[in-house]
């Protein structure tokens, strides 16, 4: 199968999008897919490869967001691009803008943790309620998709996006 976008390279990334209650399928090559943000991705590409491609395609971001290195561990966005590994816990805050789209790609569109919280953190007030609501919304969404109720699915997806902001 050829890429829907450039019609040259082989389509290895398969995207499903719900628009106006209709399910759309896109078949893209890795490069075109990497330029295509914010969609829930169905992919046949190993995750590390996906990350690398995505990071490379967004190498321009560094200048735009003007992020320097982390003052705690000294890592720069370029270092991270090369190794795929972060240097310290602060990097998630320092590179939050650049990391967010990447995390969405790697985690089916998710940008917020909804799982276990350290006992001590729980006491000092993590926004747990929001997390629970999101979990419920996501469950409803997958049920709607399963039932092929795309209108409802589209609504739920908007709600999830809003809640995530």
């Amino acid at each position: 199968m050829k890429c829907d976008n450039c019609n040259k390279a082989a389509a290895t990334v398969h995207l499903t999008e719900i628009k106006g209650g209709k399910k759309l399928e896109k078949h893209l090559c890795e490069q075109c897919a990497a330029q295509n943000e914010g969609l829930p991705v169905k992919t046949h590409t190993p995750i590390n490869e996906l990350l690398t491609n995505f990071v490379l395609a967004h190498s321009g971001l560094q200048k735009e967001t003007g992020v320097g290195g982390c003052e705690h561990c000294g890592i720069t966005w370029a270092d991270f691009r090369q190794s795929g590994l972060l240097g310290c816990e602060h990097d998630y805050g320092v590179f939050e803008k650049d990391l967010t789209p990447l995390l969405q790609r790697a985690h089916e569109g998710a940008t917020h943790h909804v799982g276990k919280v350290p006992a001590r953190r729980g006491e000092v007030g993590v926004p747990m309620k929001k997390s629970v609501d999101l979990t419920r919304l996501r469950k409803d969404l997958s049920r709607a998709v399963e039932a092929e109720d795309y209108e409802k699915a589209a609504k739920l997806r908007d709600q999830i996006r809003q809640a995530e902001e």
């Binding site: 000294g74 972060l86 998630y92 995390l103 790697a106 940008t111 276990k116």
Partner: protein, 351 residues
């Protein structure tokens, strides 16, 4: 407990029992955690690394996560000991090969292992035989809680548990189920499973995790998404959707072989048994493939006088480091293959 005590038996998780054990070899859950206030390992100095290793070691040993915990200092361990731990799934290949201060704590019949200073400061793992994901989660979450009482883990209100690689952030959980799928392989349908797994955002790997080929018809299926889903949701997906589906496929393929291709099936099984019982030189890869067919034959009732537990043990004990440990000497090339063949013949009552 000493490291040498591990050699002569298979770990608890290989006892060949537990739910769905004719297809599910083991269930594994891993949690990635980092200690707040220390850089991740890529940016740690030698001194920080050593300090961290000491502190985590002490925390694990004083937390009494298991009645008896063996701690292995991997910087000091021999190549063969490290290889032995890889063969038993207690440490990863990269952890065995790395340098600097690092270790592994092993507890409760090898169902628990905690790697210290791998890609993350801690990689807690619980391994169980058969399909026992909820049990494994309950156990690992308790271990996590008891370590958390003494260590501050790096945690972010939005991103959850912070990990060195963003692909693990959030829950830090990796759920892996090891499956034995010989019939799907024989009927040429295994590709379907791979495709389905990838559509569900799961990774399919070989016997020893990332970057390893599937050998002897064993496949490890793991989640790739760690953010935006709770641990329970991820586990429930595996238990109720993913794994039952694959088990159904394999059962169906086994029934097809049994009903429509009985002679071809028996030929595969008995050829494998014949080779295992009579070979004089045998390589470890060939051993895996033959044992795989024999195991399927036992599970389908085509072989009655060999216990599946014996076969499970042979998978483990015929690997290079185990074989050399049992023999108590270094073995290379043809000598190793000869010793392996002797050992298998002796265990299976061969000629």
């Amino acid at each position: 407990m000493k490291l040498s005590d591990l050699t002569n038996h298979a770990g608890e998780w290989l006892r060949g029992s537990g739910p769905m054990s004719e297809i599910v070899i083991s269930s594994r859950i891993r949690l990635a955690r980092n200690v707040a206030g220390f850089p991740f390992l890529a940016k740690s100095s030698r001194g920080q690394r050593t300090m961290l290793e000491g502190r985590i070691r002490e925390t694990i040993l004083s937390s009494q996560i298991a009645p008896q915990t063996l701690y292995v200092d991997l910087e000091q361990a021999t190549d063969m000991d490290r290889q032995l731990l890889v063969e038993r799934h207690l440490i990863s290949k990269p952890h065995a090969a790395a340098e600097g201060s690092r270790g592994v704590a092993i507890g409760e019949n090898e169902t628990i292992s905690i790697m210290v200073n791998e890609e993350d400061h801690l990689r807690i793992q619980v391994l169980r035989s058969g399909l026992q994901l909820e049990e494994a989660w309950e156990q690992i979450s308790k271990i996590d809680d008891s370590l958390e009482r003494r260590l501050d883990f790096a945690f972010h209100n939005r991103f959850g548990y912070l990990t060195a690689c963003p692909t693990n952030v959030g829950t830090g959980i990796r759920v892996s189920v090891m499956l034995h799928l010989p019939a799907l392989k024989l009927t040429g349908e295994i590709e379907k499973v791979f495709r389905a797994a990838k559509d569900m955002r799961l990774a399919v790997r070989g016997l020893y995790g990332e970057g390893t080929e599937a050998t002897g018809d064993f496949y490890q299926i793991s989640n790739q998404t760690t953010l935006g889903k709770t641990e329970e949701e991820i586990i429930s997906d595996f238990k109720h959707v993913v794994i039952p589906k694959i088990i159904d496929y394999e059962h169906h393929a086994r029934r097809t072989l049994l009903n429509d291709r009985t002679t071809a099936l028996d030929d595969k099984v008995h050829r494998a048994m014949g080779l295992l019982k009579s070979a004089r030189l045998i390589a470890s890869e060939e051993t895996l493939f033959l044992l795989s067919h024999l195991r399927m034959g036992i599970n389908l009732g085509r072989v009655k006088d060999i216990d599946v537990r014996t076969v499970n043990e042979l998978f483990l004990l015929t690997q290079p480091a185990h074989l050399q440990r049992i023999q108590g000497r270094k073995l290379e090339g043809d000598l190793r293959r000869a010793v392996r063949a002797d050992y298998i013949r002796q265990r299976l009552g061969g000629v």
